[in-house]
C-alpha cells in the first residue's frame, strides 16, 4: 500500500507543473461538524488566519501574475473576520476567487460572535466570486446523516437565495458549483452521470439550478478515518482505493498545480497534506513569508497512502474528477 511504489510501477513521476491556484485555508471554525470532514472543522475550533497572514497571501498574489486563482477554504471561510477584506483585495488584483461555501453559513448566526451572515449571497455577487458548495446528495436523509440534522433544508433555502440573485443561472456569469462526496465508505459515481441526477432532482423537487457538480472521494484521514476505524472498514476502504488506482487520474492530481496555505501561513502541497502537517519539501522555509515560486516548482511533492484517494477511479480533486468523461 505504498503510493510512491505504485507511481514507480506505472512509470509516473509526478512533478509540480505550475502554481495556478493559491488555496488558502483561513481557519477551522465552522458552523457545521460534518462526519467526513478532513479538517475536523467545527464550531469549537479556534484556529484562524490573522490579518497579517492574509496580507502576506495578498502580497504573493500581487507578486506572481501566473497565480491566477485564489481558492478560499476552511472551516467555513466566511467566519474569519478578515474574509471579506481578503476577497475584495484579491478581486482588486484581478484574481479569480473561489469560495468553498457550505450554504448553511448564510442562515446560521456566527458561532462565536452571533453575527448575522445573511448578506453573504449579495457580497458574493457584488465581487463576482465563484461559489463552490458541498451537497452530498439531493435528498435530506443522506445529506443530514453526513452534515447534521436540518442541513439539507437549510442548504436548499440558501441555494434558493443564490439562484434568486442569478447564481447558477445560464448567462449571468455567476457560477454556483456543487460538490458531491459519498455518504459512506464507497467510491463516488461517474461525475457527469451524478451531475445529471442532481440537476434533474433538485430542479424537479425544489426548482433549483447550478452550473457544475464535482465529485470528491472521501479522504481516509482525520474524522472520516476515525469513522472507518470505528466501523472496522479502514482496511477494506484502503483496498478499494488501491485497487481503483488509475494512472490517468494520477497524472492530473491537483497538487501539481496549486499550493495550499494553512491558517498560520505554512505551505503544503494540498489541503489534505495540510491536515496531516506534511509541509512542502523544497529545501527552504515552508512559510508564506518566504514564498519563492521557482523553488516551489522544483519541489518534491510529499505523498503518503491517503493520496490513493485522489487517484482512484476517475480521480478526485477540489475541482472534481481528474479524468473528464
Amino acid at each position: 500500500m505504498d503510493f510512491e511504489k505504485t507511481l514507480a510501477l506505472h512509470n509516473l513521476d509526478l512533478k509540480p507543473l505550475s502554481v495556478e491556484t493559491l488555496q488558502v485555508n483561513v481557519g477551522k471554525l465552522c458552523n457545521q461538524a460534518c462526519k467526513h470532514c478532513h479538517v475536523d472543522a467545527g464550531p469549537k475550533r479556534t484556529e484562524m488566519m490573522t490579518r497579517e497572514t492574509v496580507d502576506r497571501c495578498l502580497e504573493i498574489l500581487a507578486r506572481y501574475p501566473e497565480i491566477g486563482k485564489l481558492d478560499i477554504t476552511g472551516g467555513a471561510p466566511e467566519l474569519n473576520d478578515h474574509f471579506e477584506y481578503f476577497v475584495v483585495s484579491a478581486r482588486s488584483l484581478g484574481k479569480h476567487v473561489m469560495i468553498r461555501h457550505n450554504l448553511t453559513v448564510t442562515l446560521d448566526p456566527h458561532p462565536v460572535s452571533g453575527r448575522n451572515m445573511e448578506h453573504l449571497p449579495d457580497f458574493f455577487k457584488q465581487h463576482n466570486v465563484e461559489v463552490i458548495s458541498s451537497l452530498p446528495y439531493f435528498q435530506s436523509a443522506e445529506t443530514d446523516s453526513q452534515r447534521g440534522q436540518g442541513v439539507f433544508e437549510k442548504s436548499v433555502e440558501s441555494m434558493r437565495r443564490l439562484n434568486r440573485i442569478g447564481y447558477g443561472k445560464e448567462g449571468t456569469g455567476l457560477i454556483l458549483d456543487l460538490v458531491y462526496n459519498p455518504v459512506g465508505a464507497y467510491l463516488p459515481p461517474e461525475q457527469s452521470a451524478i451531475e445529471r441526477q442532481f440537476k434533474d432532482e433538485l430542479g424537479k423537487q425544489h426548482g433549483l439550478v447550478f452550473n457544475n457538480l464535482y465529485v470528491i472521494t472521501n479522504m481516509p484521514i482525520n474524522r472520516f478515518k476515525h469513522f472507518l476505524e470505528r466501523a472496522d472498514l479502514y482496511e477494506s476502504y484502503m483496498e478499494k482505493l488501491v485497487n481503483a488506482f488509475n494512472p490517468g487520474a494520477a497524472d492530473g492530481v491537483m497538487c501539481r498545480s496549486l499550493i495550499s496555505v494553512g491558517y498560520d501561513g505554512t505551505l503544503y502541497d494540498c489541503d489534505y497534506n495540510q491536515m496531516l502537517e506534511m509541509r512542502v519539501n523544497h529545501g527552504s522555509s515552508a512559510s508564506i513569508r518566504d514564498f519563492e515560486l521557482d523553488k516551489l516548482l522544483g519541489r518534491q511533492i510529499a505523498f503518503a497512502s491517503h493520496c490513493f484517494g485522489c487517484t482512484a477511479g476517475a480521480g478526485s480533486s477540489c475541482g472534481g474528477a481528474t479524468v473528464k468523461s
Binding site: 446528495y137 459519498p182 464507497y186 459515481p189 452521470a193
Partner: protein, 111 residues
C-alpha cells in the same frame, strides 16, 4: 464448520479464470459490458436490476457487489428498496399465478 460464504472470497472470483482462461475472458468481457457500462440503460439502472436479481438468486457475493455498485452509481436507499420490492412482488406473483393451475384442477375434478 466454517461458513461457505466469506466476504473475502468475493475477491477470488477471478481465480475461476486460472483454468480454461478463454472461457473466463469471454464471460468477464460480456459480464462487464452487460452490467457496468452506460448504454440504453444507465449504469445506475443496470446496478438496480443487478441488485434485484442478486436478491432473487440470493447470492451473498452478488448482494455485496451490487449494493456497492448501486451506491457507487449514485442510487439511494429508496431506489434500492423499491428494487427489492419488485423482486419480492415478482417472486410472490409467480407463486400466486400458479393458483390458476390449482383452480383448473379443482374445476376439472369437480362435478
Amino acid at each position: 464448520m466454517a461458513s461457505h460464504y466469506e466476504t473475502k472470497d468475493l475477491a477470488k472470483f477471478g481465480d475461476i479464470g486460472k483454468n480454461r482462461k478463454h472461457l473466463w475472458d469471454k464471460f468477464i468481457a460480456w459480464y462487464t459490458e452487460a452490467t457496468a457500462t452506460e448504454g440504453a440503460l444507465t449504469k445506475r439502472e443496470k446496478s438496480l436490476i443487478g441488485l434485484a436479481v442478486a436478491h432473487t438468486v440470493q447470492c451473498p457475493y452478488c448482494i455485496d457487489a451490487y449494493t456497492n455498485q448501486c451506491l457507487e452509481t449514485g442510487a439511494n436507499m429508496d431506489q434500492m428498496t423499491e428494487a427489492l420490492h419488485v423482486t419480492a412482488a415478482v417472486r410472490g406473483g409467480a407463486s400466486l399465478v400458479h393458483g390458476v393451475q390449482c383452480r383448473n384442477i379443482v374445476e376439472k375434478l369437480s362435478m
